[in-house]
């Protein structure tokens, strides 16, 4: 199973730069996800690998075979790349039966009749649709169409599987089931897979590694846990999972612990940090809701950071509670297993529970506004 190497990828449409120096390497058999908000260039990256777009600059190599190298003016056309691709709209050929859809790539490869039959049966069996091979696409449900599209992409044993938001047209329940199914399938086949999505849950649960993109830049590449636990930037923290952000100024850093005076309350919190910053610098503190603990105001607590707050809202979200706490002008989101807290409470977290980023630009001004109350 091949390795995919993308280096120095640039893409411009006219004057607009859509991809800006994208680099990554996908290992053999890996499930690799391109994650990012709409319009960040995920599909463009995928299309460059597929050969449906040609990059303005950069090179792409699969299994040691160069597909594109702008420096050498090399470009292998899509049809000679032997990749399997599933499109967001599935792109099943509407005038052909399921079987005929699967025959096409095999016919192009001049496969013998017997082998065609075996391969098609295997591919349809893999997606559990062998009994529907004589149907036309419009006679299938969305979920079935999606699985046929996958079977069509797998039937010729492509070297790499490319998936562009294949689940986004399915309803939530089916999407969740398909996700689990897709993951099992990929592990079973061990095929190198590049997956594009803007859905963080999908990315986290499916991927071996995730590459997070913003506006044509690759911000972080890492395993799901790494992306979630140690987001490289505040933007990543905000996009993957939910996160509270507080702006403040650095007082001092000692022994890997930064003391930050928060803008909202003037209180000082301690945050573990390895950033090289000097006192007075503007910083942003980020804490995930589930890393915060709430205790009643009366209880004795120990912890690096103990802040006095009060409960604004409390809602039951199934198996746990979501609190909105007032901290200065900010609303702090907290996930907690206990549901009986009210009035004045204390917010507790360790220095390790929070993340520190340089600069005071919170990722989404709009979201931040929603999280603001009058003091």
């Amino acid at each position: 199973m091949p390795e995919v190497q993308v280096s120095g990828l640039h893409k411009k449409f006219g004057d607009v730069t859509v991809l800006n120096d994208i680099n990554f390497t996908i290992r053999e058999g890996e499930f690799f996800t391109l994650l990012g908000p709409s319009g960040c260039g995920k599909s463009t990256t995928l299309n460059c690998i597929a050969g449906l777009e040609s990059p303005t600059a950069g090179s792409i190599t699969v299994d040691g075979v160069p597909f594109v190298d702008t420096a050498k003016k090399l470009y292998v056309p899509t049809e000679e790349r032997n990749l399997g691709m599933v499109f967001q709209s599935y792109a099943l050929w509407p005038h052909m039966t399921v079987e005929a859809n699967l025959v096409m790539p095999l016919a192009i490869r001049k496969v013998s009749k017997e082998e065609k039959a075996v391969r098609i049966h295997e591919a349809l069996d893999t997606v559990g649709l062998a009994h529907l091979k004589d149907r036309y696409p419009h006679q299938l449900s969305g979920g079935q169409q999606q699985r046929v599209a996958l079977a069509r992409a797998l039937v010729y044993s492509p070297s790499v599987l490319l998936l562009d938001e294949p689940l986004s047209n399915l309803d939530a329940k089916l999407r969740e089931q398909s996700r689990a199914w897709l993951k099992r399938l990929q592990v079973e086949l061990g095929i190198t897979t590049v997956y594009v999505t803007h859905d963080q849950d999908e990315a986290l649960s499916l991927s071996d590694r995730i590459a997070v993109m913003f506006e044509g830049n690759m911000t972080q590449i890492g395993a799901p846990a790494e992306i979630y636990e140690r987001p490289a930037t505040a933007a990543v923290a905000a996009f993957v999972g939910s996160c509270n952000f507080f702006t403040g100024r650095l007082e001092e850093t000692r022994g890997g612990i930064a003391r930050v005076r928060l803008d909202n309350t003037g209180l000082v919190v301690k945050v573990a940090s390895t950033l090289a910053l000097s006192p007075g610098d503007a910083v942003t503190v980020a804490v995930r809701p589930e890393r915060l603990t709430i205790t009643p105001a009366s209880a004795d607590v120990t912890g690096a950071n103990v802040l006095d707050t009060s409960v604004l809202t409390r809602s039951y979200v199934g198996s746990r509670y979501e609190y909105g706490l007032k901290l200065g002008t900010n609303v702090v989101q907290v996930i907690s297993p206990t549901g009986n807290l009210d009035g004045d409470v204390r917010l507790v977290f360790d220095a390790d529970d929070a993340l520190l980023y340089a600069g005071s630009n919170v990722p989404s001004a709009e979201a931040q506004e929603l999280m603001t109350v009058a003091s």
């Binding site: 299994d63 790349r81 032997n82 691709m85 709209s89 792109a91 050929w93 096409m104 790539p105």
Partner: protein, 587 residues
């Protein structure tokens, strides 16, 4: 891809090897797709430029092309603009073309929406009849209208007897525009109807779910989807009416209303010593208009992507119910069909079997076959009938294939001159038949070896074919825009090259559009005659040129007979083609 597979890899089925990617042959380092794309581009360029270049050249020359020792001059243009009547000609043309276009759209769009997307009484039948005025040439329609509504027409005379006056004057710009619009409306109708038939019903369902009533859905969801076909057809119709010869010639000559085409006709063909310089200069002016319209079209259709509504995900269309309005709608369509086309044509057919056709005398008293006899006693007239059929049949195939390839290159290829291919294919829109005729005549005369083609049917096919190319292109292009690009992309990733994608996927999806183009081109070329006015030799005339000859001679009975024959041929062809289509597109 190498065949070393780790144990994690997809195992090829026992005894079978991993499938390698297909390899496509290269010629000089380019794939066959690129070769085809260049081929089409060059062929189109030659095809379109062949008649234009001699005309442009002529427009700046102080004497006819074939005379040696000419000088380059702008004198022709000066002469054209100082010609006292020319300003009036331009004005007449503008009024006529705009009027025709507006009237055509007013007739065609509501009818397409009503027939295709609503429950209409006898909807299928109306839809089919709605199309058939198109199958009649505007020359024949003009004859028919004169027969009924002209100053001495059957209905006019009848009305004058009852009321003492006739409430219209056919021999006017308004009369021309109405007649022309009735004849051209089916073109716009077909474009709109095709787009509506293919558009995604889930959009409508979405609107319905949002609480929109049927009328609201029509205006907010269905009508906007029609933008590409409307733009295509209105530009097509505008330029067709810029250059149409028949109706202005028939109606305008007696009352001396001149438009562009009749100006060219009288100056180029009727005058004893034609001024070729003026001809070239006037033609060049029309070309400027063409470039303008095509530019507008390109601009309006820039966001064409937005209108893609058939994607890989399949859905089925559904019909809206308009309540009592549908009866009004059906009645309007019936009136259009009966008074616009059916009666004039029936009148003309009836005329062909009588000596005299007027309400003042019972026409049944003068029934005769002598009109047909006259046609069939002259071998040249008979030959013109077979010529028309051959030209239309051969031309339909050649032009449709060329148009299909041009659409693929223009709309579905990474070819760097894709846009130019589109411009080239659409450019003949505003090249009046007479100009095309003159242009090719000069081109054949000037090119070595052109003499072999000059005066043959091939020359006629080439000229008519060029004129029909935009029609074919325009009928296929919207269809391809309705096919989501991802279907191509899926074929490419599956291993089909550009050419293979067409042969394996698009060919079938485009078959209805292609057959539609075939029919359209056959009928168009059957009706065409103006380019042949210049190009035909004595025995390569077509029905249209013969009819015009007979009309000028005052043989209206024989004109009616020939018209009847042409209608019969067209009707038989279309009927057969429709049967064939039914059998082959119900996949």
């Amino acid at each position: 891809m190498t065949t070393t597979s780790t144990d994690k890899a997809v195992q090829p089925p026992a005894g079978r090897s991993i499938l390698p990617a297909p390899k496509y042959p290269r010629v000089f380092g380019v794939g066959r797709g690129r070769l085809v794309q260049y081929g089409i581009f060059i062929l189109l360029a030659l095809f379109v430029l062949a008649p234009i270049v001699p005309i442009l050249y002529q427009s700046f020359r102080d004497r006819p092309l074939y005379e040696a020792g000419g000088l380059l001059t702008a004198g022709n243009y000066v002469k054209l603009f100082t010609d006292a009547g020319f300003g009036q000609v331009v004005l007449n043309t503008a009024i006529f073309a705009v009027g025709t276009t507006v009237l055509t759209l007013v007739i065609a769009i509501p009818m397409a929406v009503l027939v295709v997307r609503t429950r209409l009484p006898f909807g299928r039948l109306l839809g089919l009849s709605m199309q058939w005025p198109f199958f009649i040439s505007s020359l024949i329609l003009g004859f028919g209208w004169i027969t009924l509504y002209g100053p001495a027409g059957f209905i006019s005379v009848q009305l004058r007897q009852v009321f003492g006056f006739v409430p219209w004057n056919l021999y006017s710009l308004g009369g021309m525009a109405v007649t022309e619009a009735v004849g051209l409306a089916p073109i716009a109708y077909v474009f709109c109807a095709n787009a509506l038939r293919q558009s995604d019903a889930s959009l409508e369902s979405a609107a319905r779910v949002c609480g929109a009533g049927p009328v609201r859905i029509l205006f907010q969801v269905v009508v906007p989807m029609l933008r590409p076909p409307i733009v295509y057809s209105s530009i097509l119709i505008f330029s067709m009416s810029l250059e149409t010869l028949s109706v202005p010639l028939l109606y305008g000559t007696p009352v001396r209303i001149e438009v562009f085409s009749t100006f060219l006709y009288t100056n180029g063909l009727q005058s004893i010593s034609p001024d070729y310089g003026i001809l070239g200069a006037a033609s060049t002016l029309i070309l400027a208009v063409t470039i303008g319209t095509v530019a507008i079209q390109a601009k309006v259709l820039k966001n064409a992507q937005r209108f893609i509504s058939v994607r890989g995900k399949a859905t089925r269309p559904r019909l809206l119910d308009l309540g009592w309005i549908r009866w009004v709608a059906a009645a309007a369509i019936v009136i259009y069909i009966i008074f616009g086309a059916l009666l004039p044509i029936l009148g003309l057919v009836f005329r062909s079997f009588t000596m005299i056709f007027t309400p003042l005398q019972n026409p049944f008293d003068t029934l005769t076959l002598s009109n047909y006899q006259r046609v069939f006693t002259f071998p040249v007239y008979v030959q013109s009938i077979t010529n028309s059929v051959v030209v239309a049949a051969v031309g339909a195939v050649l032009v449709s294939v060329l148009a299909l390839l041009a659409v693929l290159v223009a709309r579905r290829s990474p070819f760097k001159f894709a846009r130019s291919v589109e411009y080239l294919a659409l450019a003949p829109q505003a090249m009046p038949g007479i100009i095309v005729g003159i242009g090719f005549f000069w081109a054949f005369a000037l090119t070595p070896g052109g003499g072999w083609v000059q005066g043959t049917l091939m020359a006629v096919i080439i000229a008519f074919g060029l004129r029909a190319l935009p029609t074919a292109f325009g009928s296929i292009a919207p269809a391809i825009m309705q096919i989501g690009r991802e279907l191509d992309d899926a074929a490419r990733t599956s291993g089909a090259d550009w050419f293979g994608t067409f042969f394996r996927i698009l060919r079938t999806l485009l078959r209805p559009a292609f057959v539609g183009a075939l029919i359209l081109v056959f009928v168009t070329m059957m009706k065409e005659y103006s380019a042949a006015l210049f190009l035909s030799s004595a025995n390569t005339g077509v029905i249209g040129t013969t009819m015009l000859d007979l009309w000028v001679q005052g043989n209206t009975g024989s004109v009616a007979a020939l018209a009847t024959i042409q209608i019969a041929i067209t009707a038989v062809f279309v009927a057969v083609a429709n049967l064939f289509m039914k059998g082959h597109t119900d996949a």
